[in-house]
Amino acid sequence: MNRRVLLFGFGISLPLLVLLGFAFQHDPQIVESPLIGRPAPDFRLADLDGNIVDLAELRGRPVIINFWATYCPPCIVEHPLLMAGARRWQGEIHFLGVIFQDDPDLIAQFNAEYGRWGPSLIDADGGVAIAYGVYGPPETFFIGRDGVIVDKAIGAVSRDQLLDVANRMLAQPAPATG
């Protein structure tokens, strides 16, 4: 028995195999956002009707920002949930949609057909999507009353997450004005 080969062989291969086993615990598609717990980047964007939304002015109330597009199937999946959410928390939580690399005409068509749960903001140069580090639609950012990003959903947001995070945000004390 050649001890050297045995030690060398297992010395290299065992850690490798353990490592590969660990790899199963992670979904390679999901990257955690470094923005959670940090202030949401402020932006000013116009919606399809030309109304301007300034995020900074919305402070004091939780905001849910959803980056979406008509070509993305999960966006269509989560659409009814966002509709329901916007109705449920009307006047309590702002729902903002940011168009991610899509044709505003198609968005308008989609809204007319399936209903609209909030303004669809035109991010013409993609700068807002970059500032939020959006990998691809849909991504949903939950912003607390104090303007800090509480959580983020990648892919279609689930009912449980929406409920849980919305309630958490609503339970936050209103920030001191000043």
Binding site: V5, L6, G9, G21, A23, F24, H26, D27, P28, D105
Partner: protein, 666 residues
């Protein structure tokens, strides 16, 4: 019904492989001729079962039998016939079934071609191959069953295969080539296992082992090249190699396979490095399994990945089992492979081969570390990181340059290398060629240090390659006058073949260096009549049209190309939209010349008839593919038996003929 038939064939394959593996080892230990005969029959039965299973699947695909789950998954009534045929390997389950087919064919080939003269090795070899076959058929029969009946109701139509795979015919040949390479590595592996189990590795077994290593290595070369070409022709980013984890995975066994081919030369000439060659062959096999695992388990981010599936853990288990078996077997038996005493010097052919192996293995480790590091970072730091092109370029390019240098220096050095004067002469003679290449590069406008270094190395290597490759021809002519060069080559075609491969490597090497350094591009939004200019080309947009095809909608732009006032034809880059597909997939249009490629991609099509056009000119791209073709041609030369082998084979064939009525065997 079809499901049952297919599953029946798979089960038959599993039984044949299982029994064959067990029987083969017993026959090997007992040296039983009858056992070997039966093992060989079971090996052939396994091959037949795999052919049958694939035949059934093809039948199901072509008859659109959606009651078979795999057909329901990748089939579609609107998919053209040829794509339906290729969709056998377009998705996970089918690709593993196809893998089984290729393994079956390799096993049948090994059982047939290695029939004579190697009885002691053959039983172990077939047993090992059948053990691998048993694993794959088990996989097909359990977690990756393509024949599983579709849960009712059976759909009337399916989604069709992944559009990226439908986009280009290269997708029809690239995966089979890669599989032929990957799966083929099992054969030299099994032969090496047999050598270890027998405790001997002589030239009579080494030669066929090298040959069986050469075949899959060149398939892998072709497969990797075709993958790069596909990426270039289909993905539309203008490149051919992105250091994507799955590309890397196919690269790893290629590197060690080539290292093993080279160390095998030393072993053949000197009888040294036996254990090392065996270890390299084993690592190569394990890397093919690792690569398959990475591709199929979905643990890495990659274009090529199949979706996450229960197959991952099973494959990891197989990889662990194989690794453990290899390490234990090596540690038990490696000392039985006694090498000839050697007398190596650093500055000698042997020394060069050692350095060559060192470089190849270092390169393999570098790529392996880079490919797996994201998993390390995620497990230990909890952070996702990327290891991509900038990293690999910085780390791997110096190693490649060193290999290029060795490709010139190594073959120039004499075996043994004890005479310093001889060594000096060998190294000085190619220097003018290196200088000439350097000057040529300067004249052509190269200024960056890496390119200049590569050109000098390439000039050196080219001279040595030509000198060494033509040496037998010249020697023959000098001595006997009358014999033609062909006859001289046929004495040792593998020698010429090796240098033809080197020539191909040189061509590809230089083409990659130049094409990646001197790429230029331009991008613009064009309306009909607008012109985009790049590197002497004028590209005028004439208009776009929308073509409705059965399985896609194509937006196609007509671009008139001219340069130097001359018409250079019309190119049609297009954007294809597949139903149910998130993003449109662009098909670039390429104008290839010997000097450079003009590469046009359509970025978007506006409703008002404008387009976003991206143009890229890349020098020498065509030579990358040409170089690989030369490499493969060289490999074919290497496979022709040498004069000595032909002489040796003759009496054996006569003996076989004489012995055949008695039934052969021992």
């Amino acid at each position: 019904m079809t499901s049952v038939l297919g599953q029946g064939f798979v089960l038959l394959g599993l039984i044949a492989a299982g029994f064959g593996a067990a029987l083969g080892y017993v026959a090997g230990v007992r040296r039983s001729a009858a056992g070997l005969r039966l093992t060989r029959r079971l090996a052939l039965l396994f091959a037949v079962a795999m052919v049958g299973a694939c035949g059934v699947m093809w039948y199901a695909l072509l008859s659109h039998d959606f009651s078979v789950s795999y057909v329901a998954q990748v089939g579609s009534l609107s998919t053209p016939l040829h794509i339906t045929i290729f969709s056998l390997w377009s998705s996970l389950e089918g690709s593993i079934l196809f893998w089984g087919l290729i393994l079956g064919l390799y096993i049948a080939a090994a059982a047939t071609f290695q029939r004579r003269g190697h009885e002691d090795y053959l039983a172990y070899t077939l047993a090992t191959l059948l053990a691998i076959g048993a694993f794959f058929t088990f996989l097909i029969a359990s977690v990756a069953d393509p024949f599983a009946p579709t849960p009712s109701p059976v759909p009337v139509d399916g989604p069709g295969p992944n559009p990226l795979l439908q986009n280009h015919l290269l997708m029809a040949i690239h995966p089979p080539m890669l599989y032929l390479g990957y799966v083929g590595m099992s054969v030299p592996f099994a032969m090496a296992v047999a050598a270890l189990l027998r405790g001997q590795l002589g030239a009579t077994w080494l030669r066929p082992m090298r040959r069986w290593l050469l075949v899959p290595t060149s398939f892998l070369t072709a497969g990797i090249m075709l993958g790069g070409w596909w990426s270039y022709e289909v993905l539309g980013w203008g490149g051919y190699w992105a250091w994507d984890p799955v590309e890397n995975a196919s690269f790893l066994p290629w590197l060690t396979g080539i290292a093993a081919l080279h160390s095998g030369v030393v072993q053949q000439r000197r009888g040294t490095l036996k254990a090392w060659t065996v270890i390299l062959i084993m690592i190569t096999f394990l890397l093919t399994i690792l690569g398959t695992f990475l591709t199929r388990s979905g643990v890495v981010n990659s274009v090529h990945s199949f979706t996450q599936s229960p197959i991952g853990p099973v494959f990891l288990g197989f990889l662990a089992l194989c690794t453990a078996a290899v390490v234990v077997l090596l540690s038990l038996r490696i000392d039985t492979l006694v090498s000839e005493p050697s007398n190596e010097r650093l500055v000698s052919r042997e020394g060069a081969f050692l350095l060559n192996n060192l470089l190849f293995v270092s390169l393999m480790f570098t790529v392996l570390v880079g490919t797996l590091y994201p998993i390390v970072a995620e497990s230990l730091r909890g952070v996702k990181v990327s290891v991509g092109e900038p990293y690999f370029n910085r780390m791997a390019v110096p190693l490649f340059a060193a290999l290029l240098l060795m490709m010139g220096v190594g073959p120039a050095l004499p075996w043994g290398g004890s005479d310093p004067k001889l060594v000096r002469r060998a190294l000085v003679r190619p220097l003018p060629a290196a200088a000439a290449a350097l000057v040529l590069a300067l004249l052509l406008g190269a200024r960056s240090a890496p390119v200049l270094v590569v050109s000098a190395f390439a000039g050196f290597a080219l001279w040595v390659t030509a000198d060494q490759g033509l040496r037998p021809v010249r020697a023959r002519r000098r001595r006997r006058g009358g014999r033609g060069p062909l006859a001289a080559v046929l004495v040792a075609p593998d020698r010429l073949g090796a240098y033809v491969v080197h020539l191909g490597v040189l061509i590809t090497f230089v083409a990659v260096a130049v094409s990646s350094t001197f790429q230029r591009e331009a991008e613009s939004t064009l309306r009909a009549g607008d012109t985009l200019r790049l590197g002497g080309y004028e590209m005028t947009f004439r208009g776009a049209e929308r073509v409705q095809e059965p399985h896609l909608i194509r937006h196609q732009a007509e671009i008139e190309v001219s340069s130097d006032g001359q018409d250079r034809g019309v190119l049609y880059p297009s954007l294809n939209i597949y139903p149910n597909q998130r993003e449109p997939i662009g098909t670039p249009a390429v104008r290839t010349t010997a000097g450079h490629d003009l590469y046009l991609t359509l970025m978007n099509v506006g409703g008002d008839g404008s387009i976003g056009l991206r143009a890229i000119t890349t020098p020498l791209v065509a030579w990358i593919w040409i170089g690989v073709v030369v490499m493969v041609a060289g490999t074919v030369l290497c496979l022709i038996p040498t004069a000595a082998e032909r002489r040796a084979a003759m009496p054996r064939a006569v003996a076989d003929l004489a012995a055949s009525p008695a039934g052969g065997g021992r």
